[in-house]
C-alpha cells in the first residue's frame, strides 16, 4: 500500500513537472493576437492596432476611397488620405513599422452613378473600402450587407458621436444601427436679390427673422414676386431648380405641414392637401408669369444660373453651394462673381412657411462616410485579421472627421459642417487665414490638389456665409431614404412640369399623381395616399 502511495505521489509530481514544461514551450510559440478592443482613446487604439498588425507581419495596409459629387468636394476622398497620414505619423512616432497606403482615390461627379458602380462592384470585392455618398442609399446598402455596421465601434467614441448634429447621426442609421459617419450636409435657402428688392421696397434685413417667425409666408413671396415683375424691376419673380433628383421642391410639402414618409408603417406618403398646395403655388406663379413655365427643361449653365446672377429674378430657391459655385463658374457674362459681389447682391432666408401658423423649413441631403463590409480584403491574412482591419477603417473615419478636415471641406465646397467643433473653426479668422495660405498640417498631395479650389473659395465672406446659414439645420427635413422614393419623385416632377406649363390644373395634377402611383404595383404597395384636396383653400 505504502509503495502504491509513493508511486502515485511520484506520478503526480511528474505530471505537474511535465505540464509545466508543456506550458513553458507553449508560451514561446504562442500565436500573435488578432483581436483589439477599442477604448475611445484614439492614440492608444491606433497604437494597439499597429502592434497587432506588426506582430502578424503586416507592414503595409492598403485601402481605397471612393467619393462623388461636385468638383469642389474632393475632401470626401482626400479626408481619408489625410486621416491615413495622421495615423501613419502616430505609428511612426511610436516606433511601429506599419503604414496605411490609400491605393485609389476614385471620384466622379454623379453620385447616382457612383452608387450604381458600388452596387455592381461590391459583391465582387472591387468596390472602394471607403464610400462616401448620399444618406439616401444607406438603407439599401445596409440591407444588402454591403456596408459595415459600426454601432459597436462607435460606443467607444461616444464623445465624437455626440459632437455631430443629432439629426445627421440619425440619417446615418438604419433600423437603429449606425452604418456610417456624417461627412457633410447643406441647407437650401431662399435667395433674394438685394438690388431688385430695394427697387420695390422689400426690406431684406428684417426678412430672415420674419421668415423664421413664420410671419413671411409663400403668400408674401408671391406678393413681392408680382410686384417685382409688374414694376419691371425683374424679368421673373422666382427661379427654382429642376429635376426629380433635386429635392428642393419637396420643401413645399413640409412648408405646408405635410409629410413624405410614415415612420410607423415605413411607407412613403402622398400627403394630398400639402401636395395640392405645393402644385397650386407653382401653378399660380407660372400662370401669372412670375416663374418660367418651361423651367423644368431650362439649361443650368445657360439659363438658370445666369438668370439669377444677372439679377433677372427677385427670388431663387437654391442650395448653399450656389454661393461658391457662382464664384467659381462663369455664369455672369462669361465670368464668375467676386465674393464681394455675391455678398452685396444676395440675401438669404429659410424656405418660408406655406401659410400662417406653419413653420419655415429647409432640406438637407447629408453625405455619409461608409465602410465597405469587405474593407481591407486586399491585404494579407484578411480572414484572420478582418476585425482588426475593420476597426482600423473605423479609426480612419474617426480621424477623417477631425474638425479641421471637416471645416476645410465646408469652406471650399460651401457645404455645412457636420460637427459643432468644425462649425466653431470656420468662424476662426486665424485658422481661415492659415487655410487661405495652406499653412496647415496637411498631406502634400492633398495640398496640391486643393490649392486652386482654396484660392478661389477661401475668404472671410464665404466663411461668414456658412456660419450665417448653419442655424438652418435646426429647421431641416430630409427626403425619405426609401428605395421607391426616386420613382415617386419622378412622378412629382412630371406633375410639377404639367402644372407649370398649364397642361393640368393643380387638382388634375394631384389626381394624376395618385393614378400613376396606383398604376405601379410596387409603388402602390409602398405609398400611402393621405387626406383630401382642401376645399375653399385660397392662395395667395
Amino acid at each position: 500500500m505504502k509503495a502504491e502511495v509513493i508511486w502515485l505521489v511520484a506520478l503526480l509530481f511528474l505530471g505537474v513537472a511535465a505540464s509545466g514544461c508543456i506550458g513553458g514551450t507553449g508560451t514561446e510559440t504562442q500565436a500573435p493576437s488578432t483581436e483589439v478592443q477599442l477604448t475611445g482613446d484614439f492614440t492608444k487604439d491606433v497604437i494597439e492596432i499597429g502592434k497587432v498588425l506588426e506582430a502578424n507581419g503586416i507592414n503595409e495596409v492598403k485601402f481605397s476611397a471612393w467619393g462623388s459629387g461636385d468638383p469642389n468636394s474632393v475632401m470626401r476622398v482626400y479626408g481619408i488620405v489625410e486621416a491615413a497620414r495622421r495615423i501613419n505619423r502616430i505609428w511612426e512616432e511610436n516606433g511601429i513599422n506599419v503604414r496605411i497606403v490609400i491605393t485609389e482615390t476614385h471620384y466622379v461627379a454623379s453620385f447616382q452613378d457612383a452608387y450604381k458602380d458600388y452596387l455592381s462592384k461590391q459583391p465582387l470585392g472591387q468596390a472602394g473600402d471607403f464610400f462616401v455618398n448620399s444618406y439616401a442609399f444607406l438603407p439599401t446598402l445596409a440591407e444588402e450587407g454591403y456596408i459595415l455596421d459600426i454601432t459597436d465601434y462607435a460606443y467607444a467614441y461616444k464623445g465624437l458621436i455626440d459632437d455631430f448634429y443629432p439629426s445627421l447621426i440619425e440619417a446615418s442609421k438604419y433600423k437603429g444601427r449606425l452604418y456610417g459617419l456624417p461627412q457633410d450636409t447643406e441647407a437650401r435657402p431662399l435667395y433674394v436679390r438685394k438690388d431688385v428688392a430695394e427697387k420695390i421696397g422689400l426690406d431684406v434685413n428684417s426678412l430672415p427673422e420674419k421668415v423664421k417667425n413664420g410671419e413671411f409666408t409663400w403668400s408674401d413671396v408671391y406678393y413681392w414676386a408680382k410686384k417685382a415683375k409688374e414694376s419691371g424691376a425683374a424679368e421673373w419673380g422666382l427661379i427654382h431648380r429642376k429635376g426629380s433628383a433635386h429635392p428642393d421642391l419637396i420643401q413645399f410639402i413640409f412648408a405646408f405641414g405635410g409629410k413624405l414618409y410614415d415612420e410607423e408603417t415605413g411607407k412613403l406618403v402622398v400627403d394630398v392637401p400639402a401636395v395640392y398646395k405645393w402644385l397650386y403655388v407653382e401653378w399660380k406663379f407660372a400662370q401669372d408669369g412670375l416663374l418660367p413655365k418651361d423651367i423644368m427643361s431650362w439649361d443650368w449653365a445657360k439659363q438658370i444660373h445666369p438668370t439669377i446672377v444677372e439679377g433677372r429674378t427677385l427670388f431663387d430657391i437654391g442650395g448653399t453651394w450656389y454661393w461658391t459655385e457662382w464664384q467659381t463658374k462663369q455664369y455672369y457674362h462669361g465670368r464668375g462673381l467676386k465674393p464681394e459681389e455675391v455678398k452685396d447682391w444676395f440675401a438669404y432666408t429659410l424656405f418660408p412657411a406655406g401659410e400662417k401658423g406653419l413653420k419655415p423649413v429647409t432640406l438637407s441631403q447629408p453625405f455619409v462616410w461608409m465602410i465597405n463590409s469587405k474593407a481591407g480584403q486586399q491585404n494579407p491574412k484578411y480572414d484572420e485579421l478582418k476585425d482588426v482591419y475593420h476597426k482600423l477603417a473605423f479609426l480612419i473615419l474617426v480621424k477623417a472627421s477631425d474638425p479641421d478636415i471637416n471645416a476645410i471641406h465646408s469652406v471650399i465646397s460651401a457645404h455645412l459642417p457636420v460637427r459643432k467643433e468644425a462649425a466653431k473653426l470656420i468662424k476662426d479668422e486665424k485658422w481661415l487665414n492659415n487655410l487661405k495660405n495652406l499653412n496647415l498640417d496637411l498631406d502634400q498631395e492633398v495640398k496640391e490638389n486643393i490649392k486652386d479650389i482654396v484660392k478661389a473659395t477661401v475668404n472671410p465672406i464665404n466663411a461668414q456665409f456658412l456660419a450665417d446659414v448653419s442655424y438652418m439645420l435646426e429647421y431641416t427635413h430630409f427626403a425619405p431614404a426609401h428605395p421607391k422614393y426616386p420613382a415617386l419623385a419622378d412622378i412629382f416632377k412630371e406633375a410639377v412640369d404639367k402644372v407649370l406649363r398649364g397642361e393640368m390644373t393643380p387638382k388634375e395634377a394631384v389626381d394624376y399623381i395618385i393614378q400613376k402611383v396606383q398604376a405601379d404595383p410596387e409603388l402602390a404597395q409602398n405609398v400611402e395616399i393621405v387626406g383630401e384636396i382642401p376645399e375653399n383653400w385660397t392662395f395667395p
Binding site: G69, D70, P71, N72, S73, V74, V77, T105, Y107, V108, A109, S110, D113, A114, D117, S120, K121, P123, L124, G125, Q126, H246, D299, W300, A301, K302, T328, K329, Q330, G334, Q377, Q378, I412, N449, I450, D452, I453, K455, A456, T457
Partner: protein
C-alpha cells in the same frame, strides 16, 4: 469605268443633296460638339455668339481635370489606353473566331450546320443588356480569388463578353465573304496537298481581306463604344465610362466634357477615313478574282 451604269447622271446632284440634308443633323451635332470643345461655353445652337475660343478644355482633359477648379486629376492617357485594350481585344477575338467559324460554315458540311446558322442569327437578336444578368453571374462564378489577378481578369472578361455579342453577326458576315470565293481556288490548294487549315490561311484569308477588315473594324468600334459591359465588369475606366460618369449637367463643366467627347470620336474618324476604300469593297461583297 463607272460602277453604276444604270443611273442617269442628271439626278446625281439631287441624290447628293438629299443625302446631305438627311445627314445634316448628324453633321451639325458633331460640329457643335467639336466647336464647344474649343469654347468657354457650350455652343448649342446656330447662333455662334456663345463661342469664345479657348484651348483650356483640351489642356484640362489631357491633365485629367474635370472642372475649372477642383476635382481629382484622372490619368486620361491611362483611360485612353484602357479603351484601346478593350477595343483591340474585342477586335482580335471577334476577327479570329469569325474568320474560322465563317469559313467552316461556308465550306464544310457538318451535322447541325443549318441549325447553327439559324442559332447564330437568333443570338444576334439578343440585346447585350438582356444578357447582362447571366453574364454577371458567370463573372461571379469565374472570378479569381487573388486580388492581383482581378484587374487583369476584368479586362479579359470584358473582351470575351463583348466579343461574344459581336461574334454571331461577324460570323455571318465572314460566311458571306467566303461564299463569294470560287471553290476552284480551294480545290487547287487541296489537290496540291495542302491541309484545310493551310488552305484557309494561305489561300482563303488573303482573298477575303476586305471582309476581315470590315469585321475587325466593326468589332473595334463595338469595344470602343461599349459602356454597359465595361461599366459592369471592368475595374478601370474607359473613355465611355469616364464621359458618362462626369456628364451630370449641373456639376460638370460641359465644354470640357465636349473635349473628352471629341477625343473619343477621333479614332473612329481616323479608322473610317483610312479604311474607307477597303470597307466599300467589303460592302460591295466581292473580290477581284
Amino acid at each position: 469605268m463607272r460602277d453604276v451604269e444604270t443611273r442617269p447622271r442628271k439626278y446625281e446632284w439631287a441624290i447628293i443633296l438629299a443625302v446631305f440634308f438627311a445627314s445634316l443633323p448628324l453633321i451639325l451635332g458633331f460640329s457643335l460638339l467639336i466647336l464647344s470643345s474649343f469654347s468657354t461655353d457650350m455652343v448649342t445652337n446656330l447662333d455662334l455668339k456663345s463661342l469664345h475660343f479657348t484651348i483650356e478644355n483640351w489642356i484640362n482633359v489631357f491633365q485629367g481635370r474635370l472642372a475649372i477648379t477642383g476635382g481629382i486629376r484622372t490619368n486620361i492617357l491611362r483611360i485612353t489606353l484602357n479603351t484601346f485594350i478593350v477595343a483591340l481585344g474585342v477586335a482580335g477575338i471577334v476577327t479570329l473566331v469569325s474568320t474560322m467559324a465563317g469559313y467552316s460554315l461556308s465550306r464544310i458540311d457538318f451535322r447541325g450546320r443549318k441549325h447553327l446558322m439559324v442559332l447564330l442569327l437568333l443570338l444576334h437578336a439578343f440585346p447585350g443588356v438582356a444578357l447582362i444578368v447571366g453574364v454577371y453571374l458567370l463573372y461571379r462564378l469565374t472570378f479569381p480569388q487573388s486580388p492581383e489577378m482581378v484587374r487583369f481578369y476584368s479586362f479579359f472578361y470584358v473582351v470575351l463578353a463583348r466579343g461574344a455579342l459581336e461574334i454571331p453577326m461577324s460570323v455571318w458576315l465572314m460566311k458571306g465573304f467566303f461564299d463569294t470565293v470560287p471553290w476552284e481556288f480551294e480545290w487547287s490548294g487541296i489537290i496540291d496537298g495542302a491541309s484545310r487549315i493551310k488552305v484557309w490561311w494561305k489561300i482563303m484569308l488573303p482573298l477575303v481581306k476586305p471582309g476581315i477588315l470590315a469585321v475587325a473594324l466593326f468589332a473595334f468600334l463595338a469595344g470602343w463604344q461599349d459602356i454597359i459591359y465595361v461599366r459592369t465588369f471592368l475595374i478601370d475606366q474607359t473613355l465611355a465610362t469616364f464621359i458618362e460618369a462626369n456628364i451630370e449637367a449641373e456639376y460638370s463643366h460641359m465644354p470640357l466634357i465636349a473635349a473628352a467627347g471629341t477625343l473619343y470620336l477621333v479614332p473612329t474618324i481616323i479608322f473610317f477615313i483610312t479604311a474607307q476604300q477597303l470597307l466599300l469593297q467589303g460592302y460591295s461583297g466581292g473580290i477581284k478574282g
